[in-house]
């Protein structure tokens, strides 16, 4: 077992080291992309905790991302909060929103759960538009450069933005790795695999799933709040259905129920869209074809397929 632990840590710390070094190697354009991808990957990691590990397929995670984004953005723009306090508030908003939604939505399962979470997220999106005088609706809130200073670092500068995104990503990755390798992580997977059996081993499915969803919401809230701070914009489109589907695509592509899958999926999908939109305006068609290929040849995603073909230790 210790051999496995060594491999696991070597792989994940290696990925983090490579990302740290990438800032010094990559051209500015790609480094900027990577900063964005790392924040989105945190969001997808949160989604994966609910979907990949616990088996909760939510179609409403944009609500939690949006809660983090607007929780942070409105406190900065309307109440004049500092970046640090607003970031913490945004993270808390993501978790609190997941708790509230979970208390209601987790009374359902499967397709009903998908629909209920979708409805909640749509309600959240429409709420943002309804309160346009405060949220600035479709137009969104631009966060002043002056307000984007965290612990003395100016987050609007490329290099600092990259390292801030990296720090968030690294923390999220390591926490997730520890979580899924912990006894609680095993119980989350048990819920995914066989809820009735888990109940008859003494686990309360509702509480386990609620806890997993709240952790997932905290990740989404952290990603949302960080996204607004790092890129200076808080808009309603980030709370739309598209942003509920995005992490699902990342996770499916990279591998549901794998720690690195969401990041891998985010990188590939981001560049797939980036390259495709340089060639054709129908770039969503390319995404669709990619997903078809995925479903046909690697339904468990890239890392899921690798895990089946020899890398059994992959967490």
């Amino acid at each position: 077992m210790t051999g496995t632990a060594t491999k696991v840590w070597a792989l994940h710390l290696g990925v983090l080291a490579a990302l740290l070094a990438a800032q010094f190697v990559l051209p500015a354009y790609h480094a900027g992309n990577l900063a964005r991808i790392m924040v989105l990957a945190v969001y997808a990691m949160g989604f994966n905790i609910a979907f990949g590990y616990t088996g909760l397929l939510s179609l409403g995670h944009a609500l939690f991302f949006g809660a983090g984004l607007y929780g942070m953005g409105m406190l900065v723009a309307l109440a004049g909060w500092g970046a640090g306090a607003a970031l913490v508030a945004g993270i808390a908003a993501g978790g609190a929103m997941a708790l509230a939604v979970g208390l209601l939505a987790l009374r359902t399962a499967g397709v009903s759960f998908m629909i209920v979470t979708l409805m909640f997220a749509q309600a959240g999106y429409l709420t943002i538009l309804y309160y346009t005088p405060y949220t600035r609706g479709e137009e969104g809130i631009v966060i002043d450069r002056a307000a984007r200073v965290l612990l003395g670092f100016d987050l609007s500068q490329d290099i600092i933005r990259y390292f801030a995104a990296f720090a968030l990503f690294a923390a999220a990755l390591l926490v997730k790795l520890a979580l899924v390798r912990s006894p609680f992580g095993r119980v989350m997977v048990a819920m995914r695999e066989n809820e009735e059996r888990s109940r008859m081993l003494g686990y309360d499915p509702f509480r386990i799933k609620l806890a997993a969803l709240v952790v997932s919401g905290i990740y989404a809230g952290a990603a949302g709040a960080a996204y607004g701070l790092l890129f200076g914009y808080v808009g309603a489109s980030f709370a739309s259905i598209q942003y509920s589907i995005l992490p699902l695509l990342y996770v499916l592509l990279g591998g549901a129920g794998t720690v690195l899958g969401p990041f891998l999926g985010a990188v590939l999908m981001f560049y797939l869209i980036d390259l495709a939109s340089g060639i054709t305006t129908a770039h969503l068609l390319v995404v669709g074809v990619a997903l078809l290929v995925l479903v046909l040849f690697a339904p468990k995603g890239i890392l899921g397929a690798l895990r089946d073909r020899g890398l059994k230790w992959l967490p």
């Binding site: 997977v189 066989n194 109940r199 008859m200 003494g202 309360d204």
Partner: protein
């Protein structure tokens, strides 16, 4: 039986529409006994134990377990209180390793050293050498064994086994009987079983259910000699 009652069910009832699956059953389990529950197909055996372990809600009647009224307690809390149920249809986590399967049971009861106690629990049923296999890749007999091992690993006060020997070879059945004999009197065992040799061999007491009601309760000899049971079940 002057022994202390571990579990007492009174007037336990569960109807499904017009079907009286369990109909006013009084039932006692003595601490440390092996008690078999038999009866023809559809007699209500699985529904009855599902009421005891909480998988099916009680319609009327009451259940006391270790002095506590558990009639309305949810299933997962009953497991924590000491009632373990092993499924009739094997319900292991097929895509997890054998070790993860057993660890889920061990950590549920709160173990000091999870890894060591999990391996010890596997060792007890002879599955330790297969710890890293996926549970779904085990032979059917080993899957049944793992299922029972998970129940044992919870260290319950009452272990409910729902047709544990179904589909096992004779040699496996012998090993299973030894295993069950080894857990009493620390645990109490309630066994639903169709294999009469296993029942007569293991059980100290037998309860016969028919049409959701108790037809008879007694020692194996008493049950063999009971004319009503013979007509209903043993075929004269």
């Amino acid at each position: 039986m002057a022994a202390v009652a571990l579990l007492e069910a009174r007037a336990l009832t569960r109807h499904f529409g017009g079907l009286r699956a369990v109909d006013g059953v009084d039932f006692d389990l003595a601490q440390g006994e092996i008690h078999a529950l038999i009866g023809p197909n559809g007699a209500g055996k699985t529904t009855f134990v599902s009421l005891l372990c909480g998988r099916v809600p009680v319609q009327s009647g009451s259940i006391r377990f270790a002095g506590q009224d558990i009639t309305k307690m949810p299933a997962h809390q009953r497991v924590r209180a000491g009632i373990a149920y092993t499924f009739q249809i094997t319900a292991i986590y097929a895509r997890l390793t054998v070790l993860d399967n057993i660890a889920l049971a061990v950590q549920s009861r709160g173990a000091g050293n999870l890894a060591a106690e999990s391996m010890a629990a596997l060792d007890r049923v002879g599955l330790a050498s297969r710890a890293d296999m996926l549970a779904g890749e085990l032979s059917y007999g080993h899957q049944r064994l793992l299922e029972v091992a998970m129940g044992l690993a919870l260290r319950p006060r009452l272990l409910i086994l729902d047709e544990p020997t179904q589909g096992l070879a004779n040699s496996e059945i012998d090993a299973f009987k030894d295993l069950v004999r080894g857990v009493v009197p620390e645990m109490t065992v309630l066994l639903i079983e169709h294999n009469m040799d296993v029942v007569m061999d293991l059980a100290q007491r037998i309860t016969v259910l028919n049409f959701g009601q108790v037809l008879a309760t007694g020692t194996p000899d008493e049950i063999r000699a009971n004319p009503a049971v013979q007509t209903a079940y043993l075929g004269g």
